[in-house]
């Protein structure tokens, strides 16, 4: 098949048909550089193990005499949907003026009564939500991500506004990196000021990200919780490190007192997740806890994240209430994979496409494992995820008359 060069830009009408703005968002990509692709294998080897437990030659068995059917034998299919005893809790983020906050709307997560997308009956009670990242200081971002946000990098409020207006963010995450004692060690008051500015700039619910230091985060979160009383922020995150540093009680109590939710972060270990939740229940209602079970990049252990989410969801549905919380995925982490950001041999395509597809596939894989809310960054990944979430949701109203029947003979 001839490789066509896509030097021509794609016209707007086509984009709207499939994924509006997608190509625009993938800007900078003009062609796939196949001409220089060097191939370096001599002989092809297959790495597909054929180790089914019963593989191998079976002793010869006599072929029974059979009467071959001449007509299709009728057989019906009745969809079976499985009901589970458990249910994932609902957590509501953001508060309107009537509810004591200043947001234009609230967003409710969770409520699942089944594994993710098991059939067309158990649809998500609330469609998964997407929060876009904002950092309060200059951070080292891969070039492909940087290009979209370079102009607003010095202004978290402007950055937040662009995330909502231009990229369709349901929510915004403000990462208060500057508070890190190892970097700028910004004060809780300075951090609170940034949050205040973002609250003014956008009217969607917010996630507030700390620096990872259990003592500093506790100070910062407690301060912001009080400053933004009633806004139902999601404080990202509370950890077992905080329990060890004896700061967990302070943060959780402040969140409870001033009407916010917390994100309970653990590292790919369900027993830790349960332990952290048990500690949190002493200070804050379970309806205010979202879990982060850790999202690892595709190629760097995404399968661990995938399986831990499948396990957590199944356990919750079987009645383990300590795991019956909505879950978040920081799919921006996909960019940790070098395949996402590095220049590679031309045969592997330009990073302007490789990067966003990496984040997209990272997020989509976990969508099928039950994610309720995402933290993401590349606009094309966000757009695609929203498109898929809509398609998998209740009655997407799609025309299914287009024929796939004879894909075999379609000339491409």
């Amino acid at each position: 098949m001839a490789q066509k060069n896509n030097n021509n830009r794609i016209d707007g009408e086509q984009l709207l048909t499939l994924a509006p703005q997608l190509l625009e968002l993938l800007k900078g990509v003009h062609q796939v550089e196949l001409e220089n692709f060097s191939m370096d294998i001599g002989n092809l080897e297959l790495f597909i193990p054929t180790n089914s437990l019963t593989s191998g030659l079976s002793p010869a068995a006599a072929e029974p005499v059979r009467i071959k059917p001449t007509e299709l034998l009728p057989e019906s299919y009745v969809p079976v949907s499985i009901d589970y005893p458990g249910r994932v809790r609902e957590v509501t983020l953001g508060a309107t003026r009537a509810e004591g906050g200043t947001r234009c709307r609230t967003i409710t997560l969770g409520g699942a009564t089944a594994p993710a997308y098991p059939d067309r009956i158990h649809l998500p009670v609330h469609p998964p939500t997407i929060a876009l990242d904002v950092f309060d200081m200059e951070v080292a971002l891969p070039k492909v991500l940087l290009e979209n946000v370079r102009e607003v990098m010095h202004d978290p409020a402007e950055w937040a506004r662009m995330n909502v207006k231009k990229f369709g963010a349901d929510m915004v995450t403000v990462h208060l990196m500057s508070t890190d004692p190892l970097f700028r060690n910004a004060t809780p008051a300075a951090a609170a000021k940034t949050v205040e500015e973002v609250l003014q700039a956008v009217d969607v619910p917010l996630i507030i990200g700390g620096c990872g230091d259990p003592k500093k985060d506790a100070e910062v979160f407690s301060h912001i919780a009080e400053m933004a009383e009633g806004e139902r922020l999601l404080l990202n995150s509370v950890t077992l490190d905080m329990a060890e540093a004896k700061t967990l009680e302070r943060v959780a109590t402040a969140a409870d007192k001033y009407g916010h939710a917390v994100l309970a972060f653990t590292g790919l270990e369900l027993n830790s997740a349960k332990e952290l939740n048990r500690r949190l229940y002493q200070y804050i209602a379970p309806e205010n806890i979202v879990m982060d079970l850790t999202t690892v990049a595709l190629g760097y252990g995404l399968e661990y994240s995938f399986s831990i989410h499948e396990r957590a969801r199944f356990a919750a549905l079987m009645g383990d209430t300590e795991l019956a919380h909505p879950v978040i995925s920081a799919s921006t982490n996909a960019w940790a994979a070098r395949e996402a950001w590095m220049q590679m041999a031309p045969g592997y395509g330009p990073r302007e496409l490789r990067g966003p597809i990496w984040e997209t596939i990272n997020a989509l894989s976990l969508l099928l494992a039950g994610i309720d809310i995402y933290m993401m960054m590349h606009p094309a990944a966000v757009l695609t995820l929203k498109d898929v979430i809509r398609r998998l949701g209740p009655d997407p109203g799609e025309d299914m008359t287009d024929r796939i029947d004879d894909w075999v003979s379609v000339r491409l």
Binding site: A19, L46, T50, G267, G299, G301, M344
Partner: protein
């Protein structure tokens, strides 16, 4: 399967319910060690863990144990049948799944990815594309990821033209072939050309099933069953074909990557759930996903179609596809599929880890740099390859992080000041060098202070990605004392 049917037959044991004793009871119990295990019980244990197969026990095939073999085969039969295709020595196995979700046991037979060619392509273009498919490769944690098969489609609907294309592909290609033509006359022309290659036939439909079944029996090939968006028809076809005498089937319920995506995901999920949870035999076959169908939608930009194909393929890999047919040959489309497939099919019971210890690169002396990383295989092989490429002389400490990457291990506290301290002690690293300086990964930067305190070593924070190690060493080594 109806409830009545289910009651006639005692429910099959799931792989998790089968104990080594269940298997041991049916073995020859001679402890002959032909399987290289110390005794029959040890072999039985590895069989129920999915690590050895009945083929590893030669006495079962001697003719003396036929009854026991057939009981064992029944006992251990996966709810999703394993189907193979391709020429001898290059066969691909599909399906053979024991569980719905990988964490329940482990998945077997990583889903092959086939790329299409068609019979109206000029001969040279066809051959070039076949070579491009065969040569596509990516080195991932020391493993070569490759494409597995070629799907030859008949666009001409002409037997002679199809036959020529099949001949041209077979002349240059060594990997398994899927023949795609819905007209049995065309299919037969293709089959006749490669009768010893055991291709997968695509496909039997409600209109052609009888002729396709005859061809599959005549040429002893597995047969795909295609019933787009109609699971009743799919069951009806499978039931009929089984009665007809076919045993090796592959199911295609239709792939819709755009409109109808929800139905596709739902159909794949329903089929696999019924097979694994209810041992439904009509659905107990490998599933074929065809992300290529996104290309049939008409005139849209190629990059958007490729994008759509990439996300459809990845979702179907997650949702139980045992074989994929794709069209894009672009690295950015295929790389995430091949990596995600590799990941999904690793054994979730064992972390992908390498041995801990100190690795020596080049000819380090007492002033050479000491780096530390985790024992997650990908992390290790990535760091190793970056160090080797740059011909660095250095020591690399591999710490036990339970097989987790730096990022996860720092988050989960598997990589911490304490674990670094104990790795340095355990491997006597201080005795190898004079300087007492350790380079830690950039992603573990936040550990530097506490690690300096805990170890008494000077800590240097290295680059976030190991591709930056050579530059880092050039700029920062040796360290001023």
């Amino acid at each position: 399967m109806s409830a009545g049917h289910a009651m006639e037959k005692p429910r099959k044991k799931s792989i998790k319910e089968i104990s080594p004793i269940d298997v041991y009871k049916l073995l020859p119990k001679t402890n002959c060690r032909e399987c290289r295990e110390s005794n029959c019980m040890a072999y039985a244990t590895r069989v129920v863990n999915g690590e050895l197969t009945l083929a590893d026990c030669p006495p079962l095939f001697s003719g003396k144990y036929d009854e026991a073999y057939s009981k064992l085969a029944d006992l251990l039969a996966p709810p999703v049948k394993q189907v193979t295709f391709g020429p001898e020595g290059h066969t691909l196995a599909l399906g053979g799944k024991y569980v719905l979700q990988r964490h329940e046991f482990t998945y077997h037979n990583p889903s092959p990815v086939a790329i299409d060619v068609h019979d109206l392509m000029p001969e040279q273009e066809l051959k070039d594309r076949v070579l491009q498919i065969e040569r596509f490769t990516y080195n991932y944690i020391g493993r070569k990821l490759v494409l597995d098969a070629i799907a030859i489609r008949s666009c001409s609907r002409d037997p002679a033209i199809f036959r020529t294309a099949v001949r041209n592909v077979a002349a240059v290609c060594h990997i398994p072939i899927i023949l795609c033509a819905l007209d049995p006359t065309v299919m037969e022309a293709g089959l006749a050309e490669i009768r010893t290659c055991r291709p997968l036939i695509y496909a039997a439909t409600k209109d052609n099933w009888k002729q396709m079944a005859d061809l599959a029996l005549q040429y002893r090939c597995p047969l795909s069953v295609y019933a787009p968006d109609d699971l009743s028809l799919l069951r009806s076809l499978v039931k009929t074909l089984r009665e007809y005498g076919l045993t090796d089937l592959v199911l295609d319920p239709g792939t819709r990557g755009e409109n109808g995506l929800a139905e596709t995901i739902s159909n794949f999920t329903a089929i696999r759930t019924r097979a694994c949870k209810e041992y439904d035999e009509l659905f107990g076959y490998p599933l074929l996903g065809v992300p290529l169908t996104v290309w049939t939608g008409g005139e849209i930009s190629e990059d958007v179609l490729k994008w759509r194909e990439a996300i459809t393929a990845s979702m179907l890999l997650s949702r139980y596809a045992d074989l994929l047919i794709m069209h894009s040959l672009d690295g950015w489309v295929l790389l995430p599929q091949l990596i995600w497939r590799f990941n999904l099919y690793t054994d979730p019971r064992k972390p992908v880890s390498v041995e801990t210890g100190v690795r020596v690169f080049g000819k380090p002396d007492r002033n050479s740099p000491v780096l530390i990383t985790t024992n997650y295989a990908l992390t290790y092989f990535t760091v190793e390859s970056d160090i080797k490429t740059a011909n660095l002389d250095c020591y690399l400490v591999v710490a036990d992080t339970g097989g987790l990457s730096v990022e996860s291990a720092v988050a989960g506290r598997n990589f911490s000041a304490e674990s670094i301290t104990s790795a340095l002690k355990e491997f006597n690293v201080r005795d190898m060098i004079d300087h007492g300086t350790l380079i830690i990964p950039g992603l573990a930067a936040r550990l530097s202070g506490e690690t300096e305190e805990a170890t008494g070593w000077k800590i240097l924070v290295g680059p976030k990605d190991s591709s930056g190690i050579p530059q880092f060493i050039r700029d920062r080594w040796p360290v001023d004392s």
